[in-house]
Symmetry: C2
Subunit: 204 residues, 2 copies
């Protein structure tokens, strides 16, 4: 068997296969997002699950190009986002879940670290893109902060995964008047959020 | 709506739902692995895709308890593994993909960084567990190193994802006389490899 070893050739071939197998009924830029998620998961279900709000890609690209930071809920997602590409645009990757001050304040207030890290993130006006792949509590807290007028993201990539609160948090996100990209139902996770975020970075 | 906020309560409730929904025909320890993957992906397909070699869990637990390191192919997977738990057992998480020397030597030899990072990992006898969630080339290279007698892992968690080489690399892994955990077909990825690895760590 001939093994293709060049990472770029592997990716190009993969995207071609996805294009051929899936009948992707999306506009060009939206299709890039969906293809990258399928590329990262090999799960074609996502072609019917991903929801991209009308303004989402436009707003996300504008924010990226003006040097906005991206905030993630967990370190695994942060590690999966192309930091070099973001850095070249002037933005930084922020994730506060492991910060000692976040742990301390969360304990004092009796809330989760996920929630506390969103409160901390809301204080820096450069934090305009939120990528939340895991914790429904982080997404719920972000939406509360938005309602309270404490933060106004230019894009929320919200794909918490799982069986408790994930689906509900994403259904709430869909009602919001903030540009969002999400996934219906229980599926999602770090790999999904990372691939959506990277798809946008590669479009800048 | 009442939001459950306690992460431990969310996890317990999730595992209960998975148990109820899926009819998991696995032995007790194997079931813990499968449940954690479904927990991380909300994808019940995995119950029919995960393959756990007879000795795999026993061998992996023995290696972990004796302070072995875990090597990952990519940083995202490293970030998803419970480092504190591994550290308490005396092991370290190793990932060489971003090392400058690896990039330099890979270029000189005309191979991928994934392949070079496996060669580097093979040189430390503490590296007994390999968790490869993304790069088929890393898994192929590891198997070559095993054949050449240069490394003898006590467990390989091999779940490369995708459309080019992933399925083939995992089919090769199944033929190996080394304890392994893998996933049939195209599915896999960092979240899958991380949840399998963590399931083992939580069993120690």
């Amino acid at each position: 068997m001939k093994i293709i070893e060049d990472p770029k050739a592997i990716e190009a071939k993969s995207m071609q296969i996805i294009e051929e197998v899936a009948n992707l009924d999306y506009a060009e830029r939206e299709k890039k997002v969906v293809k990258r998620v399928i590329h990262a998961t090999a799960d074609f279900d996502f072609k019917d699950l991903i929801i991209i709000a009308d303004e989402a890609i436009e707003s996300g690209l504008k924010a990226l190009k003006s040097g906005s930071n991206i905030v993630t809920d967990v370190n695994m997602l942060r590690a999966g986002i192309n930091k070099r590409k973001l850095g070249a645009l002037g933005g930084e990757l922020e994730c506060f879940i492991s910060n000692e001050d976040v742990a301390k304040e969360a304990k004092e207030l009796g809330i989760t670290r996920s929630m506390m890290s969103m409160r901390k993130a809301s204080k820096n006006p450069k934090n305009k893109i939120f990528s939340i792949g895991n914790a429904p509590t982080a997404l719920f807290e972000l939406m509360k902060l938005i309602e309270a007028g404490k933060v106004e993201p230019e894009l929320i990539i919200g794909t918490p995964v799982g069986f408790v609160g994930a689906k509900e948090s994403k259904a709430e996100l869909e009602k919001l008047d903030i540009p969002f990209i999400t996934v219906k139902g229980r599926k999602g996770g770090s790999s999904v959020a990372a691939s959506i975020t990277n798809a946008l970075l590669y479009m800048t």
